[in-house]
């Protein structure tokens, strides 16, 4: 491993070898990825699936991983011994055990809400308990051969399960399935819809009245891939604006001109990435809103970091959580 791709940052090689080994970048076990759904009794077969890609599940492990990477920097040797339980492997295991069940539960809660929201909106869907990560990162890192392999594995799994439509929970995976998969697998023709768009359509049909239990001022952080690659900017706004008791405020840099939270370079250049998060958190806080809503697990976790570093009083919430509350309080 040491001699391969010496100019690809070691951190990326770690993530890609994890994907090859365990199906997701952080090497989480399948049981950890599927834990959120354990008591929901979701069908495991169906033409439409809710796809999480293990992304929300890994979010709470990102911070300890990055802390280890900060110490390791660009040293190659530690990575080469990772699989043999080298220093980094041990460091990582230690760091991972520091992730409290409370932290990982926080993201599992969001996932449960995502499913419950769909149920409430009358949408039928299944969840593949053994689902694999889309591999999007491999494409972004330029590891095209690895990406193609992973994409084929994922596509085969979808085919075997009879999937025809994917409700993609993160912009990251929606973009991968919609725009990148067809370039590598010419027969890949599944319908791919970002979660927020599925919700928008269902709300349109059902005419539900949404409300929050008490007044909340909220600004919106458009995730880059959602706003620019997928061109989804108005759906979340329309929904949020329809929620009673919610005061939606725009940041100066919004919609297709949204500013990146910095998460994409977190594993390679963590300190730099955190300065970017701090700056975006400051921009969001400048709206004077109580909270900022986003629609991507990586933005969510990284902006939380940014808010802490900026010393701002701004809650970062996921669209799924806001919708969940609004559906609870609202009525048909």
């Amino acid at each position: 491993m040491k001699s391969l791709r010496p100019y690809t940052p070691p951190a990326l090689r770690l993530l890609s070898s994890n994907i090859a080994r365990s199906g997701n970048p952080l090497g989480l076990k399948k049981s950890e990825c599927a834990a959120w759904a354990s008591d929901l009794h979701l069908p495991s077969q169906g033409t439409t699936i809710l796809y999480t890609g293990c992304e929300y599940q890994m979010t709470s492990y990102l911070r300890p991983l990055v802390e280890v990477l900060k110490r390791v920097k660009f040293k190659d040797t530690l990575f080469s011994t990772f699989s043999a339980g080298g220093k980094l492997g041990i460091g990582l295991m230690k760091a991972y055990t520091k992730v409290t069940s409370q932290e990982s539960e926080q993201y599992n809660r969001i996932l449960r809400m995502a499913a419950l929201n769909l149920r409430k909106l009358g949408i039928d869907f299944a969840y593949l308990e053994e689902e694999l990560y889309s591999g999007a990162l491999l494409y972004e890192y330029g590891l095209f051969e690895d990406f193609e392999q992973q994409a084929k594995r994922v596509a085969r799994q979808f085919e075997e399960a009879g999937v025809r439509k994917i409700i993609a929970l993160s912009p990251h995976s929606a973009e991968a399935f919609q725009q990148i998969y067809p370039k590598f697998i010419s027969t890949f023709d599944l319908e791919v819809v970002p979660y927020v768009c599925v919700v928008a359509e269902a709300l349109n049909k059902r005419g539900l009245k949404l409300a929050l239990p008490k007044a909340l001022s909220l600004t919106i952080h458009d995730p880059c891939h959602l706003a620019r690659s997928l061109k989804v900017t108005e759906e979340p706004r329309k929904i949020l604006q329809s929620i009673a008791n919610l005061d939606l405020r725009e940041t100066a840099l919004n919609r297709e001109l949204t500013n990146c939270c910095g998460a994409p370079c977190d594993t390679v250049f963590p300190e730099l990435s955190q300065i970017a998060a701090t700056k975006r958190a400051e921009e969001l806080a400048a709206t004077g809103a109580q909270a900022a809503v986003t629609l991507c697990p990586f933005c969510h976790s990284h902006l939380r970091r940014g808010v802490e570093l900026a010393g701002k009083k701004l809650e970062i919430v996921d669209f799924i959580e806001v919708l969940h509350q609004a559906l609870e309080v609202g009525r048909a």
Binding site: F144, L257, L272
Partner: protein, 404 residues
């Protein structure tokens, strides 16, 4: 081959040091805010620019397929106008040509040439015992700071007025206060003394018309106009991707460039097609009247013709260097030109660093810094789609290394 660990560490150390420097943060913040206002005003006053940019986009893409033909035509036109024309395949060739023209012990003035940065021209000519001065105020500051440029249009955008005052006080041996008009006046006086001593004036070229051989030079300071006029010999160093078919095309490229660089109107646009000449005595043409006696034009390839053939990455060569992407990049706003190679910055800069005058290895840390967030593409007059280009560049970095 440098060690990967060393390469990333050196790059990241420099980047972080600057990112954590409060003076630089202040300089960047002031510059970005001012740029946004200026560009908004410029586009409001000249709203047709957006459509014009689309036209230029098509034009520049078309030109990439016929660079050889265009350069040949431009060369013929320039020769016809009395200029001496050279084609430099590699950086070393260009330096050698310029070294032979200039010799040593001369006074050389330069006006913002990115190709000069690409070659390390100042260092080279100083090495031949020439006195070399940058005349663009930002580059002049950068020369005094002995650092690399930070931006195409505003190379010293990260330097505060306080820092400039310190540099000038040291250079001039008297106290210069941190007051921008006073600082500009002091630099003006210093450079005015140099213009009439100059043996050579070196410029780049924002765009070149093949049909007339006309080199377009955009500026506001008047330094380029001075040095290309007062110096007895004018040397223009131009990347081959700058050539467009007609002078009408060139005007379009020029207008889009200055507008997206944040200028409503550039105070000066010089159009230079040959050395000065007169036929006023017996209608007999003689070169060298009031302007330069000689014009030397060097077309620089240095990887460009190869890149122009690349099915994916060639798009980077349509960059007109307005620098709009840099101002609007979340990483550039933190790290300025440290997010870049020795001459080219940001995501597009990663591709140029890899294929034009640099190497895949030098480009590696830059390529992995790009967030691939796509904000630059939204604001780029050429719509250079980094979300496609960056993964492809990273693929090459991974694979090139693999075969070593």
């Amino acid at each position: 081959m440098p060690d990967a660990k060393q390469l990333f560490e050196q790059y990241y150390d420099a980047l972080l040091r600057s990112a954590q420097d409060p003076d630089m943060a202040l300089g960047l913040f002031r510059s970005v805010s001012a740029y946004r206002e200026r560009k908004a005003r410029a586009l409001e006053r000249f709203p047709h620019t957006v459509e014009l940019a689309e036209e230029v986009r098509k034009l520049k893409r078309e030109c990439l397929g016929r660079l050889d033909e265009l350069v040949e035509k431009a060369s013929a036109s320039l020769k016809e106008n009395g200029a001496q024309v050279y084609y430099a395949s590699k950086a070393q060739d260009a330096l050698k040509i310029i070294g032979q023209i200039v010799g040593s012990g001369k006074v050389v003035l330069s006006g913002k040439t990115l190709t000069g940065e690409e070659l390390g021209l100042r260092q080279y000519l100083e090495g031949l015992s020439n006195e070399f001065w940058e005349t663009d105020i930002a580059q002049f500051i950068q020369q005094l700071r002995e650092e690399k440029p930070m931006h195409y249009v505003y190379p010293s955008l990260h330097v505060t007025r306080e820092e400039v005052a310190k540099l000038l006080s040291k250079l001039l041996g008297r106290e210069i206060p941190p007051d921008i008009p006073t600082e500009v006046r002091a630099i003006r006086e210093f450079l005015r003394g140099k213009y009439f001593q100059a043996d050579f004036g070196i410029s780049g070229g924002n765009v070149v018309a093949a049909d007339t051989g006309t080199i377009f030079l955009l500026e506001s300071e008047g330094n380029i106009r001075m040095l290309t006029n007062v110096s007895p010999v004018h040397i223009a160093l131009v990347g081959i991707e700058k050539v467009v078919p007609t002078i009408e095309d060139a005007f379009k490229v020029a207008e889009v460039t200055w507008r997206y660089a944040g200028f409503s109107v550039p105070l000066y646009v010089s159009l230079i097609s040959g050395p000065s000449g007169t036929a006023d005595i017996e209608n007999t043409l003689v070169h060298g009247s009031s302007g330069p006696v000689e014009l030397h034009v060097i077309f620089l390839d240095n990887g460009r013709s190869e890149l122009a053939k690349d099915p994916i990455l060639k798009e980077a060569l349509t960059c007109i260097k307005c620098g709009s992407c840099l101002f609007e990049c979340p990483i550039y706003q933190i790290a300025a030109g440290y997010y870049g190679g020795h001459a080219y910055f940001g995501g597009v800069g990663a591709i140029l660093t890899a294929h034009v005058g640099g190497s895949l290895v030098e480009a590696a840390p830059i390529a992995y810094t790009c967030l691939k967030c796509g904000r630059c593409t939204e604001l780029c007059p050429q719509q250079i789609d980094l979300s496609q280009l960056i993964p492809e560049l990273r693929r090459r970095i991974a694979n090139a290394a693999k075969s070593k």
